[in-house]
């Protein structure tokens, strides 16, 4: 298998790399770029832990080949906010205890980013609908819903 040259922008930084055509985007992000915030829970597209944004749309990086992201803009959890300057959704998760082990959290956050772009003030049902493809084994989900509501509120200028 010959390698393919790809150009991917991740969290605003441009990378020119050679990858095997079969290389998964999740492995590319985690192992080649060393951005290990994107987690792999199932490798078969069910749990949503590996969710990243590709050109603003959520994708499962474990079901996407890196070559498919050639030319794309990717955003991962590392692009969202920092410990000193958290994104409102990260603040919401912190305040409302939206995480325990934190393994599903990057996927939950990226899914929520996409949701809030479309619906800045989502209802509980809309949030539940948006999260229906993301598994969490720790929280029981309710605090994740509250975290997203809280994040939306902060984004709208609420304190």
């Amino acid at each position: 298998m010959s390698n393919e040259k790809i150009t991917i922008t991740v969290n605003g930084k441009r990378y020119d790399k050679e990858v095997e055509p079969r290389r998964l985007l999740s492995d590319f992000i985690r192992d080649d770029l060393r951005l290990t915030g994107t987690h792999v829970g199932c490798e078969h597209g069910v749990c949503g832990s590996c969710t990243v944004l590709m050109n603003g749309k959520s994708v499962r990086s474990c079901l996407t080949f890196a070559v498919m992201a050639d030319g794309a803009e990717i955003m991962t959890i590392e692009g969202l906010g920092t410990a000193e300057n958290m994104h409102p959704l990260q603040k919401g998760f912190w305040e409302k205890h939206g995480l325990q082990c934190g393994f599903c959290t990057p996927g939950m956050l990226m899914t929520a980013v996409e949701l809030l772009k479309e619906k800045p003030r989502p209802s509980v049902d809309e949030i539940r609908e948006a999260l229906s493809g993301n598994l969490c084994r720790c929280t029981g989900y309710q605090t994740i819903v509250e975290s997203i509501q809280r994040g939306a509120e902060i984004m709208q200028g609420g304190k």
Partner: protein, 825 residues
């Protein structure tokens, strides 16, 4: 004659539960979160070392077979492959894996000569990348000679000859059998008016965290040492056992914990993954990572959970008084027996539930079958005991025509009876079960729902209410293990946890945990308790984790023990430090040490708040002014401010030498009541929650927010165990659901949208501040309540629930059977 249930030792509690605590009892935001939320937490697969190689395994496709021939030649030739090992070669490099079973049932990192379940490793490849390692696995040819396959636990009792998994333990798959009568079982049955009998079935599920298990190992040929990074617990308790397997002296192994992406028991003690990685690391001379993929995790992670058949009898009086409880249990352990029947010790810690049942007869039959072996899962077998006793109490109420709630109330151990020794000898330290029940009924609006349900039923809807009052044993001591080993001497006497504290020259406090993060909130808990002990702002405290090189004796999380144990360790270490602090402060302020206290980051004179020295100035003095202290010879005033403390179990006793009881081994007894309203669609077998309310009593709470997190998450685990999860093996021992596509853990759509959580705080008289464990109760409370609710909803069909999980198919089958029976009658 009254039964000998043992004795209750005196409490060693130093910190009394009290009002006015500043940090304990507050819902503080977690200190773990900023790094995790920003993608900077380091989990097992995030360890990236220069030149690191990767391992993949060849999984057995047979459930039970002799390995006749393995051809690895093609795999070895694949570019990028560094080494290939079969079971025979691995057996030269490594010894048997650690086990607690006695006599030991040996397991190897790669199956040798025989495979005993589908998914067991028969060979492994180490390569430049995981991709190449997996390619090479596909090139390995294995020839098997099939052996008879054992799947059904009751059939396993009859296995002989080639169907026996471990013939070195005799010509049987019945690997352990124990019978105990705790108290006058025969007499109590003789005086009963009524005996309820049931066969109950609890299905094989598993903790199934989102992150699989994994390890990265480094071999340093210079110091001849292994360093292993893994998402494991218990590395400071029994980590040395891995050195035995790796055939190095114990001090030639250092285990470094990573964050764990959830455990629920599945990461209690990892050995297969660390040994796999380390074996290859030494062989190829490079860092090596072995991370389970999802299939490895379902098929070969040693972490399936209780899979039991119960034949049970409950003896009662006409008025509903519960007298005695007899059970025969067949438990399917899978192909190995790592923790022996530890899961049944857990069950016997609270076997009588919340009730003053006078005697218990237990007959445990542990069988081996061709499945991934059992490990730990949230409740460690005691969640099954909850399901069983609660199902029986429901049955007793129905058969005696009593109210399901009133029969519970009648038999509750009353709040003035604690501390209470149950027939197995375990102690319940404290509780107020009526209060928890009452609060739950209020929270659910039971009366309101009763009316609504009646109306809904009249409208043809199948709606039911479930309420169960259950126990959450916490803080094990492991002392009961001896009871099961008929040839052993009395064993363990404590399972401690430790803490190291240091105050630096500028007054900042460092806490070193000797247990890992596995999805709980260890840093937050430690921060809150340290802040309370020293009256400093939490922002001045930093928590880190020790590796096994620097580790102190610590059992780690599991069995809802961490919060109680680490608090005990912090209180112990802080007491040493405070004594020194007050001595130095007394000197600095020319005051009496007994008159001093800590307040807002200062040492102050009680009653004279103006007289103070800051912790910062005091620390500086302690570090650099040794010779200015009053007595330069005082051994308590050595330079610096640091202390360690190993906190032994707060209250435990040994089993009775004549085996009349098991002693006190799991005594810090939480309690919870779960209630819910469900609606079932008998056509489709689907159900949905109309309401859910639960109240937990976990003693004094350190952080109500994180405790409630455990409750909520636990409930959803419980819904999975009760309604959707089962690791299923067909008659050929082939697992039929290994991925999240078909092993269904609840998603948000199956989880209650608005779960109401309440708290009652009955302090423990034995633990510091009166804390109890609370990590498992959610999962332990839901299944019996849900079974009851669904049974209630389907009461027009006369259906009795005796098995889990209540999947759509099962509910449909039960409805169809009931309809066919009705038609036939």
């Amino acid at each position: 004659m009254a039964q000998n249930r043992g004795h209750i030792p005196k409490s060693r509690q130093r910190e009394k539960p009290r009002e006015g605590l500043k940090y304990i009892g507050k819902s503080m935001k977690r200190v773990e979160d900023p790094r995790i939320l920003t993608g900077r937490g380091i989990y097992a697969d995030d360890i990236n070392l220069p030149d690191m190689a990767h391992v993949a395994i060849v999984r057995s496709s047979h459930a039970h077979a002799r390995i006749k021939r393995i051809d690895t030649s093609k795999a070895e030739k694949l570019p990028g492959v560094l080494a290939v090992l079969t079971g025979a070669q691995a057996a030269e490099l490594t010894g048997p894996l650690p086990t607690w079973s006695s006599p030991p049932v040996f397991q190897r990192v790669i199956a040798h000569e025989k495979v005993r379940h589908v998914g067991e490793a028969v060979a492994a490849v180490c390569a430049e990348s995981r991709y190449i390692a997996e390619d090479a696995c596909d090139l390995i040819e294995v020839e098997y000679e099939p052996l008879p396959i054992v799947v059904d636990p009751e059939e396993a009792l009859k296995s002989r000859g080639d169907a026996v998994l471990h013939p070195d333990h005799g010509d049987t798959n019945l690997i352990l059998e124990s019978k105990f009568d705790f108290g006058p079982v025969a007499e109590d049955f003789a005086r009963a008016d009524h005996v309820v009998k049931r066969r109950l079935r609890w299905p094989r599920s598993g903790g199934t965290p989102m992150e699989t298990n994994g390890a990265t190992a480094v071999w340093d040929p210079g110091s001849q040492r292994f360093t292993i990074h893994a998402n494991t617990s218990m590395y400071n308790f029994v980590g040395w056992m891995i050195a035995d397997t790796l055939k190095v002296p114990h001090h030639k192994l250092n285990i470094v914990p990573t964050l764990a992406g959830g455990s629920f028991g599945a990461k209690l003690f990892l050995y297969k993954q660390p040994v796999m990685a380390a074996m290859f690391a030494k062989l190829v001379g490079r860092p090596v990572k072995y991370l389970e993929d999802r299939l490895d995790a379902s098929l070969n992670n040693d972490a399936h959970a209780s899979d039991r058949v119960y034949y049970v009898e409950l003896a009662c009086k006409k008025d509903g008084t519960l007298l005695s409880f007899k059970q025969r249990i067949i438990d399917d352990y899978g192909a190995y027996f790592q923790y022996g029947v530890g899961q049944h010790g857990n069950a016997l810690a609270q076997v009588v539930g919340a009730y003053a049942i006078n005697s218990v007869g237990v007959h445990v039959q542990a069988v081996l079958t061709n499945k991934n072996q059992q490990g730990a899962y949230r409740g460690f077998g005691s969640e099954v005991a909850n399901f069983v006793i609660e199902r029986l109490v429901d049955a007793a109420a129905d058969e005696l025509k009593l109210d399901r709630i009133e029969i519970r109330r009648k038999n509750f151990i009353k709040k003035d009876q604690f501390p209470f020794l149950i027939p197995t000898g375990n102690m319940y330290d404290s509780g107020d079960y009526e209060k928890v029940l009452d609060e739950t009924l209020k929270l659910l609006d039971y009366k309101g729902w009763k009316k609504k349900v009646e109306e809904m039923r009249k409208a043809g809807r199948y709606v039911g209410i479930g309420i169960a009052s259950t126990q959450e044993r916490s803080v094990f001591s492991s002392t009961e293990f001896w009871m099961w080993n008929l040839d052993g001497k009395i064993g363990w006497t404590s399972s401690p946890d430790s803490m190291s504290l240091k105050i630096d020259p500028r007054g900042r406090i460092y806490g070193t945990l000797h247990s890992p993060f596995w999805g709980n909130s260890p840093e937050t808990v430690a921060t809150q308790v340290i802040a309370e002990q020293f009256q400093v702002d939490p922002s001045n405290i930093e928590i880190t984790y020790s590796d096994s090189d620097k580790g102190l004796h610590s059992t780690g999380p599991g069995g809802s023990r961490f919060t109680v144990m680490v608090t005990g360790a912090i209180v112990g270490a802080a007491a040493i430090l405070k004594k020194k602090i007050f001595k130095i402060a007394a000197h600095m302020m020319e005051a009496n040490a007994d008159d001093l206290e800590l307040r807002d980051g200062n040492v102050v004179v009680k009653g004279a708040p103006g007289k103070k020295v800051s912790l910062q100035d005091l620390a500086f003095h302690a570090y650099y002014m040794r010779l200015s202290m009053p007595d330069p010879e005082d051994p308590e005033l050595t330079s610096g401010l640091d202390a360690t403390y190993v906190y032994d179990h707060p209250v435990t006793t040994l089993p009775d030498p004549k085996r009349e009881h098991m002693g006190i081994f799991y005594p810090i007894m939480g309690h919870m009541c779960h209630s819910m309203v469900v609606e079932v669609d008998p056509e489709t077998g689907q159900f949905k929650f109309l309401d859910y309310a639960c109240v937990h009593d976990s003693g004094v709470m350190i952080n109500p927010m994180t405790l409630e997190g455990h409750m909520r998450g636990g409930v959803v685990n419980g819904i999975g165990s009760a309604a959707s999860e089962q690791y299923f093996y067909d008659k050929n021992g082939q697992p039929t659901n290994n991925l999240f596509t078909d092993y269904i853990i609840p998603s948000i759509s199956e989880s209650p949208a608005d779960m109401k959580c309440g708290h009652v705080e009955t302090p423990s008289p034995f633990t510091e501040y009166g804390i109890k464990g609370g990590g498992e109760g959610g999962r332990m409370g839901t299944p019996p309540a849900l079974a009851q609710a669904i049974e209630d909803a389907l009461s027009p069909f006369g259906i009795k629930i005796t098995e889990l999980p209540l999947t759509q198919n099962v509910i449909r089958r039960l409805v169809r059977e009931a309809q066919a029976k009705k038609a036939a009658d």
